[in-house]
């Protein structure tokens, strides 16, 4: 049910790869726990230079509340073993920040991750760094492009928003802080209108079926390093609660 990958080094993929920090015996500084439940459920423990200590995810678009606890326990245990090839004795992971994917995404699942991020941070007495979930997808795309020298073009991260709508955010390249440049803020669009909207914005469509918690945590690390905030603490619902005001009591007699 889970996909788990421990200790993948993606530092080389970082746009600012020259900023790579030397490994020290103890933790180099920030250790960020990333949690995103905007699509599936994804968690990761990442050091602030991009070293992924552990990640685990479930692609099930439901069942976030069922899996979140085991996934968290698993990445913390995996991360404690240290990066691949480490000769240091394993030690408990001192998480210093929790990156929380704020959506957009189906509300019920999205909330599980945000609630978990806030509660975990409360338990450890560390801050929550809110990150738009699409930023994580965009960062992954842009780091891949940097690896393959693909020409950077304007693109839209597109995710399912249910109710015949897509959520999309348009990006173009990485800025000096190594963060994806948002051209538009996350928004909803009827499915049939998406391609027309993206054409008008000159953006390629990049559909995402999952969000990487490692990329989410890395985006948070870069925002922290740059002293920037990527999102407010409000979930990106983009839609008011679906309620209709009562029309008054219905007649029961004909």
């Amino acid at each position: 049910m889970f996909v788990a990958t421990a200790s993948v080094d993606c530092r080389g993929a970082a746009a600012g790869a020259g900023r790579r920090l030397p490994r020290k015996r103890d933790y180099p500084g920030r250790v960020i726990l990333g949690i995103d439940t905007s699509l599936g459920t994804a968690v990761a423990v990442v050091e602030d230079d991009g070293l992924v200590r552990a990640e685990a995810s479930s692609d099930n678009p439901l069942g976030h509340a069922e899996v979140i606890g085991d996934l968290l326990q698993r990445v913390l245990a995996d991360a404690a073993l240290g990066p691949i090839g480490a000769t240091l004795a394993p030690g408990a992971v001192a998480v210093t920040y929790v990156a929380s994917g704020m959506g957009p995404g189906p509300f019920t699942g999205l909330r599980v991750g945000i609630a978990a991020a806030r509660a975990f941070a409360l338990g450890r007495g560390v801050p929550v760094i809110p990150v738009p979930s699409h930023d994580a997808v965009a960062l992954g795309i842009l780091l891949d492009e940097a690896m393959t020298d693909a020409a950077s073009t304007r693109f839209a991260v597109v995710t399912d928003a249910r109710r015949k709508e897509f959520a999309f955010t348009v990006y173009e390249g990485l800025d000096d802080d190594g963060l994806p440049v948002r051209v538009t803020e996350p928004a909803l669009v009827p499915r049939d209108d998406l391609d027309g909207v993206l054409e008008a914005l000159g953006a390629h469509r990049r559909d995402a079926a999952s969000v990487s918690a490692s990329m989410l945590a890395l985006a948070a690390a870069r925002a922290l390093a740059a002293g920037r905030e990527l999102a407010t603490s409000e979930p990106l619902y983009l839609r008011a609660p679906d309620v209709t005001l009562p029309a008054g009591p219905k007649r029961v007699t004909a």
């Binding site: 991020a117 806030r118 975990f120 409360l122 609660p241 309620v243």
Partner: protein, 355 residues
Amino acid sequence: MNRAEPLVLGIETSCDETGIGIVRGRALLSNTIASSMDEHARYGGVVPEVAARAHLEALQPAIEAALTEASVRLEDLDAIAVTSGPGLAGALMVGVGAAKALAVSLGKPLYAVNHLVGHIAADLLTGDEVEYPTVALLVSGGHTSLLLVRDLTSDVELLGETMDDAAGEAFDKIARILGLPYPGGPEIDRAAASGDPDAIRFPRGLSRASDMAKHRYDFSFSGLKTAVARWIEQRQAEGEPVPVADVAASFREAVVDVLVTKALAACAAHGVPRLLLGGGVIANRRLRESALARGAEAGVAVRIPPLSLCTDNGAMIAALASQLIVSGRRASTLAFGADSTLPVTEIQIAEQVTA
């Protein structure tokens, strides 16, 4: 872990109250509640998405407030407890997600428990000696259940429940028909104060002899609701004014009568001279008075915890987990979810099997 008097933090998010409770054994240290009731008022009932959003925003401040009030630190806790169900699925999931992450973060055991049995456990926090077996009548906007509790942590039987609306919902709907605001319970109570409970004979649901075989302890309020609406419409059609006080009092009497009659019938049938009341509708004065008076006549001791422990709260969830710990139960695994229709027989969810 202190198994004699465990320090437990309970998280309850099954409906529209975000409840955080902290107990040490049977001692109540904090019963912190953040309600989103005001946000639902303009819709005339609890809107699940509104409730779930409110839980997410209220949880962290409520936990912090509870810790402050109880003068304990998170690291002092012996365990975390959370409502797994029954309740609104999206609302429950907020609490479950938070509880799991908090437990993993702190490295503390987690107990996933049943909301309805939590209502019964609330009685332990009154400081009185509590005896079992007892019949329990739990009435709120979300549930109407009649239970036989032989043992709080191991043997709770569902005798009956509502087939349609919860009693609290019936109050809300009749209030709306009478043009009274939400929530309906206190409004009906107020309107009924000057009314005659015997003015109109409204039907008692599932109370006919023919109902006794299958639905002896079940409830139904939809027929009553229709009867009240029809009576008012007839009155209006005849150009007569609607006597709001009499309608409210007579409706309330019909609800209270059927609740108390069935609860005392269960006590008699099972030879249990104890009845525990729980749930937000216990705030209804007529229900309390009727249960106490008719219970006394029938030789049944009626227990009514303070209202703050009757409405949905986290203290009752913590109290139930505390009793589970005292009785030697292992913690839950982390692999449970929100179960909106969790049966009352499942007192603890996903208890670990012995290694």
